[in-house]
């Protein structure tokens, strides 16, 4: 994607987005709600026309050669893109026919995919009776009917429980082995970390940072330790004992945050220091930087337009 713009009325969904994804790599697009992630995916998957800029997928211009692009891509959108009234096999067979595999091949391909995604026992059950994780796996299977050259995953694990999330991650990893190019959008730093070779951080329809997960994390400053005290009045005393730079104090929640680049060593040290001073801690946890902190660090201001997702991201991180 090269300088891509898309407006909805007054709102600029994409404002000069640049994005290059290397063949056979997994590229994560990380950003808060409203950053333009879904708009970008809808443009590259030919569902939406961009206003300005140039977009090519597998070397093909998406505007001029949409038909050829569609033959080379798989799409896993934010919402399950399967027919909920039909069964899993019925869905996959229908999509296989629409890819013109022929009736027999569409049927056998459906069986292969059902087995691969652990859905072979679903029989005639309608998709609307599936669990969230099963639905997502079927959706992913539908995106892979042709073993596409390029796969777009738009927030593939949003709304899934940890188990469903692991299932989807495993499936994506197994694909990458097969040489598929993957563009993945997510609100979760750890998801991008787990799956992506490179990450683009986008905000307000523009890429604000790009690099490998390690490069980005280095810029954010690594892991942190959070300590919640039982007694708020000893917050300052504890902070002084822990010392060091870049401390955050949150009196309302009786919480101190400190960098923990060495993770376990920082944890042991903190427990020892507090114990020796007789300060009781209610909770101590080492965690990865959250999306909030990535944003704060790279844009100098907190990520906007978020609802409960950030909370989930923290739990997962």
């Amino acid at each position: 994607m090269d300088g891509v713009h898309k407006r909805y009325g007054e709102k600029r969904a994409l404002d000069g987005l640049d994005l290059v994804v290397g063949r056979g790599t997994v590229h994560g697009v990380l950003g808060p709600n409203g950053a333009g992630k879904t708009t970008a995916v809808r443009i590259v998957s030919t569902l939406l026309r961009h206003d300005a800029g140039r977009v090519t997928v597998a070397g093909l211009d998406v505007r001029e050669r949409a038909g050829e692009v569609r033959r080379r891509i798989g799409l896993l959108g934010q919402h399950a893109a399967v027919d909920e009234q039909l069964g899993g096999r019925q869905n996959l067979e229908m999509f296989g026919r629409l890819y013109h595999l022929g009736a027999r091949r569409a049927g056998s391909r459906a069986d292969e995919l059902l087995e691969r995604f652990g859905l072979e026992d679903t029989g005639r059950k309608a998709v609307k009776q599936y669990s969230g994780g099963m639905r997502r796996r079927l959706d992913l299977a539908a995106s892979l009917i042709t073993d596409p050259d390029v796969l777009f995953l738009d927030e593939p694990t949003t709304g899934l429980d940890p188990r469903g999330r692991t299932e989807v991650w495993d499936a994506v990893r197994s694909l990458v082995g097969g040489g598929t190019t993957v563009l993945l959008t997510t609100q979760y730093l750890d998801e991008a970390d787990q799956l992506a070779d490179r990450i683009s951080l986008i905000d307000h329809g523009r890429a604000v940072a790009e690099g490998t997960p390690d490069e980005l994390k280095a810029r954010v400053g690594g892991d942190r330790i959070d300590v919640v005290l039982r007694d708020a009045s000893r917050l300052a005393e504890a902070a002084a004992l822990l010392g060091g730079e870049d401390l955050t104090l949150d009196p309302d929640r009786r919480r101190i945050g400190a960098p923990a680049p060495d993770r376990m060593a920082a944890l042991t040290r903190t427990v020892r220091v507090l114990d020796e001073a007789g300060i009781e801690a209610e909770d101590i946890a080492v965690r990865r930087p959250t999306l909030d902190e990535v944003f704060l660090s790279l844009t100098g201001r907190p990520a906007e337009v978020r609802r409960t997702e950030t909370d989930k991201a923290e739990v997962a991180a």
């Binding site: 799409l75 399967v82 890819y99 391909r109």
Partner: protein, 276 residues
Amino acid sequence: MSAATTTAVPGPEGAASRLGWALADSWTMTRRELAHWARQPVAVVVNLVFPVMLLLMFTYLVGGGRGVPGDPTEYLVPGMLALTMAFGLEATMLAVTQDLGKGVIDRFRSMPMVPGAVLVGRSAADMLQSVVSLAVMTGVGYAVGWRWHNGAAAALGAVGLLLLLRFAMLWVGIQLAMVAGRPEMVTAVQILVWPVGFLSNVFATPASMPGWLGAVVEWNPMSATATAVRELFGNPGGATGSWAAENAELLAVLWPVAIIAAFFPLAVRKFARLSR
């Protein structure tokens, strides 16, 4: 992955192949609608029974056919057939609205399928449903005393006119669903079809109405189809002698054709540009 070698997607080469693809995709989408029916037999039966219920209600309870001499079923059955075809509008609109609200349309649109196939599948399924519905209703009509008198060819012509009206309503329904396809809009249309349905000669002859109202009723496309179908079946038409009544067969063709000419291109265009 071993499957990679066997699942490459072919492209259509040449015009004949493209037509073949279009037909294959349309058939796949029609199969999808038929599979939906197979999973909801109750809904299918209710949709077939509802117009039959209306027919029996107006025959035995409400006393339709006001102002027409002879057996009221002779007048009512053709009218009810036309009404059922016109009310197909809401069934189509509902189905399209439900479809558009779901992610599966996005998948279809991101696939190398022929773009119009989704709409063709919808129309094929709806037309098939209408044929079955006409068969059931004429069967019930026959049972309650209605007959056709002008032979099989004329009767088939009548069925053709009814399906033409249904086909026109189909494209209106698709377009309405795409323009204002929220569930509450469907409810609004489901209510509004009733006054439009009653402002026709389906239940009563315009001769029995005040002059201005009779004129409005006579020019209702549904009235044109109902009058033309009555003539073809050889049922009493409640002749009013007006130009619209005298030329009902012409109007029963012109009205739907005009509606299709307006709404078909609109709907196809709108579908191609969804969420742009």
